[in-house]
């Protein structure tokens, strides 16, 4: 939407903000929401131990679409570090970070190559699979046991497909609803 259309009508305080500050506000909101979701998901047991739903990835997906990948790195790193220090202290940050960044890289590349014909559901599933892969690779390095990769990855990949599908469906619904609002209009102006 061109700036002229936004500036007509009532001037709310947020409309006077420049788009850089507005982007910062949205970015901070994403980090806060992802942080809450990663806390909430620790209460949702999913059967196999260590398996999580991946709720924060809803925010990562929406951030990728609305802010682009460079700022989404900040969303992922900010969420991982904060939740690491607050909820799961210790070495788990290393695994979350390697999983989070590898999945962000893959999701960002998929979004880049498919541009407008992308499928958020498939991007989410590939993100879930590569999130597990990133964690296993880091675990194999930390424990110094390469056989961990092939003995764990097929099982984790099988669980990543339904969870990634669920997260993708939720993110698709959410982005559809958010696009009906004017929240994102000022992001790219």
């Amino acid at each position: 939407m061109p700036p002229s259309q936004i500036n007509c009508g009532n001037h709310h305080q947020w409309q006077l903000m420049n788009s850089k500050s507005y982007r910062l506000v949205i970015l901070s909101l994403y980090v806060a929401m992802a942080l809450i979701l990663s806390y909430v998901e620790s209460f949702i047991p999913l059967g196999p131990p260590g398996i999580k739903l991946g709720l924060p990835n809803i925010i990562t997906l929406i951030s990728l679409i609305t802010l682009g990948w460079p700022l989404t790195i900040l969303v992922v790193v900010g969420r991982v570090l904060l939740s690491g220090f607050m909820f799961n202290p210790g070495i788990s940050i290393v695994y979350s970070l390697s999983g989070g960044l590898l999945s962000l890289l893959v999701m960002g590349l998929l979004l880049h190559f498919f541009k407008d014909s992308y499928s958020l559901i498939l991007i989410s599933i590939f993100g879930a699979i590569t999130h597990n892969l990133g964690q296993i690779l880091m675990a194999a390095i930390v424990i110094q046991n390469a056989s961990l990769i092939y003995s764990t990855f097929p099982f984790l990949m099988l669980t990543a497909i339904p969870t990634g599908l669920f997260i993708g469906l939720v993110a698709k619904e959410l982005i559809g609803l958010l696009n009906k609002t004017t929240i994102f209009n000022r992001l790219n102006s």
Binding site: N88, Y95, L122, P154, I161
Partner: protein
């Protein structure tokens, strides 16, 4: 969902199921099995799976109690924060693992030959 999405999801499911099948096929063996416990990449114990046994491994990081009974190995107790290793199912097939990431401890089933 579109047809294309469903097809790719089905392919991914097949790949992962194929991987699991391959994992069990490649590891199938009649040889006697050994439970190998390693910490930080170093083997700290190798125990026969056929013999009931219980042992607690501890160091500065914390403790993990391994119980071998009825040809399965299981971690029954640990003082790590996540308790993922305790929740992991007991293992009995070659190649299967129980991992305690906070303690950098891994329990594997291997064939006694190697």
């Amino acid at each position: 969902m579109k047809k294309k999405e469903l097809i790719i999801i089905a392919i991914l499911l097949l790949i992962s199921l194929g991987g699991i099948a391959l994992f069990y096929c490649l590891n199938a063996t009649d040889q006697p099995l050994t439970v190998r416990v390693s910490r930080d990449g170093e083997v700290i114990a190798a125990l026969p799976l056929s013999q009931d046994h219980s042992e607690t491994f501890s160091n500065a990081a914390g403790t993990n109690t391994l119980v071998i009974s009825n040809r399965t190995a299981d971690i029954t107790e640990a003082d790590c924060p996540g308790q993922v290793c305790v929740a992991t199912h007991s293992i009995s097939s070659p190649g299967e693992t129980i991992v305690c990431l906070p303690h950098k401890l891994i329990v594997e089933i291997i064939t006694s030959g190697n």
